[in-house]
């Protein structure tokens, strides 16, 4: 289990006074102090961890966020920023002595400019909400994390979220132009703008993916892109993981960059098929979903090339979608993968390591061995083009031994990812979940350099304390 830092007793003792102060800074309906109304904020997408906060505030403007942060800075109160709370790594887990600042009321779309291809939105706008606002004109916002119906752009910025289509379109950092950034001192800073590549240090790049360690983001200027003429998927199933991996290498090696290239192992295929009846081949050891873009004729040519490549690897079966509807059917099982696993197991942990793609067969074999060792099932989905692996470890949360084993299993997988040349997290973030594993990827010196950069932004270490960095080694901040 992850340990959280001891709450500061002097802060807990001042709770009533702090609530009164917050009530002076914000409208009455923006401050939540009653236990029953704070309950929804005690956890996030990593529901195994729960902690009630000191208070919750739901500001509506950048100025309100700034006033709360300034107050916290002046009073030494910890802050936990929160978007939609869909983090799978415990990034929004509260602390007993912290104020949760939720961004869900900052949900206005400020400006859409199709000519210059950007949108300015508040941090609480959902990921899908941006695309919905521009899709009638043929445009879209490219990063598409699987939580995109619920997750908010502010959280996407803080986690540098990816998605199934980032092999072609990049992750959040590659699709931003500007941020309204609020420091812990309550200073509001405009980073970047409506143009590409502001000169000087790349603050936009540093803040993106910083998991709330450096400040809060209240407004985001994103690039929007014109969508392709169309897209279509195919499915190819193989009798061995190694063979599917070799087919992926051959596709990439041929010069084709599919817009998505997803891999599922046998347990995942079975779980998804039982759930979605997508027509997946149950005798396959591994299956690829490959999507290409362009006009119908271009799709035919690209899918034909990919089919010819896959044919060299003796596939058990291949299915090329003939229409957009058939494409959706192929995707249906994959998009429902997490729900499908949730149906065959009471609980699961979703891991998020990245590996060099050539290591896939080796890594899946070793995960299989670990599954036997821990006595827990595992299903693997994998963004095969970019090496981002999502093992879903099945366990029973009502059984503490089962949960502990699942955590140990997950930690062993992530250490393996690092060992073979990959990393602990490709898109979910470190959060609390992987905090104590950071020493397996970074030296003490490297972690201290990152800590010092945080200190340059947050001298008292009030922002999302106890996330990202192992507690041991964090600076001792005088109260």
């Amino acid at each position: 289990m992850i340990t959280l830092p001891l709450p500061k007793p002097e802060i807990l003792a001042r709770r009533d006074e702090i609530l009164v102060d917050l009530g002076r800074l914000l409208p009455a309906d923006a401050v939540i102090g009653e236990a029953i109304r704070m309950k929804p904020y005690e956890t996030d997408g990593l529901a195994a961890y729960r902690q009630m906060p000191l208070a919750v505030v739901l500001p509506r403007t950048t100025a309100e966020v700034a006033s709360v942060l300034r107050y916290c800075h002046e009073n030494g109160i910890r802050v936990v920023p929160r978007g939609a709370g869909t983090s799978l790594a415990g990034g929004a887990l509260p602390l007993a002595d912290a104020i949760v600042i939720g961004l869900m009321r900052m949900n206005r779309i400020r400006e859409i400019n199709l000519e210059d291809r950007y949108a300015v939105v508040e941090a609480g706008v959902t990921n899908i909400g941006i695309t919905k606002a521009v899709e009638d004109d043929g445009f879209f916002y490219a990063p598409d994390p699987s939580s995109q119906l619920a997750c908010m752009i502010g959280g996407n910025v803080m986690m540098n979220s990816g998605g199934a289509h980032c092999l072609k379109y990049g992750v959040t950092a590659n699709n931003l132009l500007g941020l309204t950034f609020v420091t812990i001192e309550g200073e509001v800073i405009e980073i970047g703008g409506r143009h590409l590549d502001a000169a000087g240090y790349d603050w936009l790049g540093l803040i993106t993916g910083s998991e709330g360690q450096l400040g809060m983001v209240t407004e985001v200027t994103v690039r929007i892109l014109r969508g392709p003429e169309g897209a279509r998927a195919m499915l190819a199933a193989f009798d061995a993981v190694e063979v599917a991996g070799a087919a992926v290498d051959a596709i990439i090696g041929s010069g084709i960059i599919p817009v998505a290239l997803e891999f599922m192992d046998k347990p995942c295929i079975h779980a998804c098929e039982a759930f979605a009846h997508a027509g997946y081949p149950l005798d396959a050891e591994a299956m690829l979903i490959i999507e290409v873009e362009g006009s119908v004729a271009e799709q035919d040519i690209l899918l034909g090339k990919i089919r010819d490549i896959c044919a060299r690897f003796n596939p058990i079966s291949m299915k090329l979608a003939e229409s957009a509807e058939q494409s959706l059917a192929i995707w249906k099982g994959r998009k429902g993968a997490f729900g499908a696993v949730g149906r065959i197991s009471p609980d699961y942990l979703c891991m998020d390591g990245t590996i060099p793609t050539g290591e896939l067969p080796n890594v899946l074999k070793r995960i299989g061995e670990m599954s036997v060792k821990y006595g827990l099932g595992v299903a693997n989905v994998f963004h095969a083009g970019d090496g981002n692996l999502h093992p879903l470890i099945m366990f029973d949360a009502n059984d503490p031994t089962s949960f502990r084993k699942a955590e140990d299993f997950g930690a062993e997988i992530l250490k393996l990812c690092v060992e073979v040349g990959g990393c602990l997290t490709g898109e979910h973030g470190v959060g609390v979940e992987k905090r104590d594993l950071m020493t397996s990827q970074f030296t003490a010196g490297e972690l201290n350099i990152q800590r010092a950069v945080k200190t340059a932004f947050d001298p008292q270490w009030l922002l999302n304390t106890a996330k990202v960095f192992p507690l041991e080694g964090n600076p001792k901040i005088a109260a």
């Binding site: 400019n113 000519e115 210059d116 291809r117 043929g138 445009f139 980032c166 950092a173 800073i189 703008g193 409506r194 143009h195 590409l196 590549d197 000169a199 000087g200 240090y201 790349d202 936009l204 790049g205 540093l206 993106t208 993916g209 360690q213 450096l214 014109r226 969508g227 990439i252 090696g253 010069g255 960059i257 271009e298 990245t354 060099p356 083009g385 970019d386 090496g387 981002n388 040349g421 990393c423 997290t425 490709g426 898109e427 973030g429 470190v430 992987k434 950071m438 970074f442 030296t443 010196g445 490297e446 972690l447 350099i449 990152q450 010092a452 950069v453 200190t455 340059a456 932004f457 990202v468």
Partner: protein, 395 residues
């Protein structure tokens, strides 16, 4: 000026550690091809990465290449070309602009975050830096990122150091994401009457579903095109069948914008290479050169202001979002560029100027006081004695 050029990372770190202890500043460079960019560095000694060379890991199917910072860019491009791959951001070769006689290095290319025409579709240099090894101003070696395409583990110091011009650390090794080279390249060239219409045409092309990977506007046209006067260029890179199909569709869709012609792959390669290296700008040897980044719809007014102020020579890339400017190397022209960029809500860089001008003006937009305070603290963290490239980005 004495040049130190260690051939191991360890030796390089020791040089920096000694400089830190002695509080003796170092000019940091690869082969010094962009030494004249931004401001002159105030340092008696130069630390060069030119002897840290060689590709250390290249996995074509994993779309990554790793090389030591002093590796010449052409060596990396040649290795990639053997596997039909390329550096994604299409970094310019500024040898002609800066009068360099050697090839630029990987480290210098990343430290200056230079991106060419393909930036508009595939991202900037910094978007493809997967990992770095670097030495802090205290001589401590550290890594950030790694070799995989998706990585959000810890703070992204790769982005912080990319474009930091050697002021926050000395890059010793860089891992880049790479992509396949397109089978074919085609270009639609359209005759234009003025900048506003030209940018509008480029916006229309970029708003099309055909995947435009280059969008430039050449104010004096180009001799090879057979079109007189100003010309807008839209590029498509893909498989040959796709390029043929999309270019024809694009030309139809854009018919109302003006008289047009199509360029085949060799002609496209030649003209986009020229655009990449800002050749059509036509900067004279004595001219100062600026880059201004704005929202494309601001480009025409920005350009008109600079034409009025000092008869600026102009070239537009990134759909009008990047304006290359050349003009007299004096404070009045520089003030006009600063004012124009600010009025457009954009950003500027004094890219090339005589030391006398560069040393006496802001070569980059000033940061707001709260951000400047953070920048000072970050600099103090990574280079407490201020020995790395003092004066490079600001006085």
């Amino acid at each position: 000026m004495s040049i130190l050029a260690p051939d191991t990372e360890q030796a390089l770190a020791a040089v920096v550690a000694r400089a830190h202890a002695a509080r003796e500043p170092l000019a940091i460079e690869g082969r010094g091809t962009k030494r004249a960019m931004l401001r002159p560095v105030q340092a008696a000694r130069t630390l060069s990465t030119r002897n840290l060379t060689g590709i250390t890991l290249y996995r074509p199917t994993e779309l990554m290449i790793r090389a030591r910072a002093g590796t010449p860019v052409p060596e990396i491009e040649a290795a990639l070309a053997e596997n039909n791959q390329q550096i994604i951001a299409e970094p310019p070769d500024l040898g002609a602009m800066f009068g360099a006689t050697e090839a630029a290095t990987l480290g210098g290319m990343v430290a200056t975050n230079l991106s060419g025409p393909r930036r508009i579709m595939w991202g900037a240099m910094r978007d493809h830096v997967l990992g770095i090894r670097a030495v802090t101003g205290e001589g401590e070696v550290f890594r950030s990122g790694g070799r995989v395409l998706k990585n959000v583990t810890g703070l992204d110091l790769c982005k912080l150091l990319t474009g930091a011009h050697g002021t926050l650390g000395v890059l010793t090794e860089v891992t880049l994401k790479v992509l396949p080279r397109a089978e074919a390249t085609g270009t639609l060239a359209i005759r234009m009457s003025d900048v506003a219409r030209g940018v509008a045409a480029l916006s229309a092309a970029l708003g099309s579903p055909y995947g435009i990977s280059g969008a430039a506007l050449l104010t004096d046209g180009h001799a090879a095109l057979g079109l007189p006067g100003m010309v807008a260029l839209a590029r498509i890179e893909d498989f040959a069948d796709s390029v043929t199909y999309r270019l024809a569709r694009l030309r139809d869709d854009m018919a109302a914008h003006g008289q047009s012609t199509l360029l085949d792959t060799p002609a496209s390669h030649a003209i986009w290479r020229a655009v990449r290296d800002a050749e059509p700008l036509g900067a004279a040897a004595e001219d100062a050169v600026w880059r201004i980044s704005v929202a494309p719809s601001e480009a025409a007014e920005t350009a008109a202001g600079l034409t009025r102020a000092f008869g600026a020579k102009l070239m537009f890339d990134w759909g009008g979002g990047l304006i290359w400017v050349a003009g007299p190397a004096n404070e009045a022209a520089h003030a006009a560029v600063m004012q124009a960029a600010e009025a457009a809500g954009g950003s500027f860089t004094l890219f090339r100027a005589p030391a006398s001008l560069a040393a006496s003006v802001l070569v980059l937009p000033p940061e707001t006081p709260p951000l400047a305070a953070i920048a000072r603290r970050v600099k103090a963290t990574l280079d407490p004695a201020g020995v790395l490239n003092p004066g490079r980005m600001q006085a």
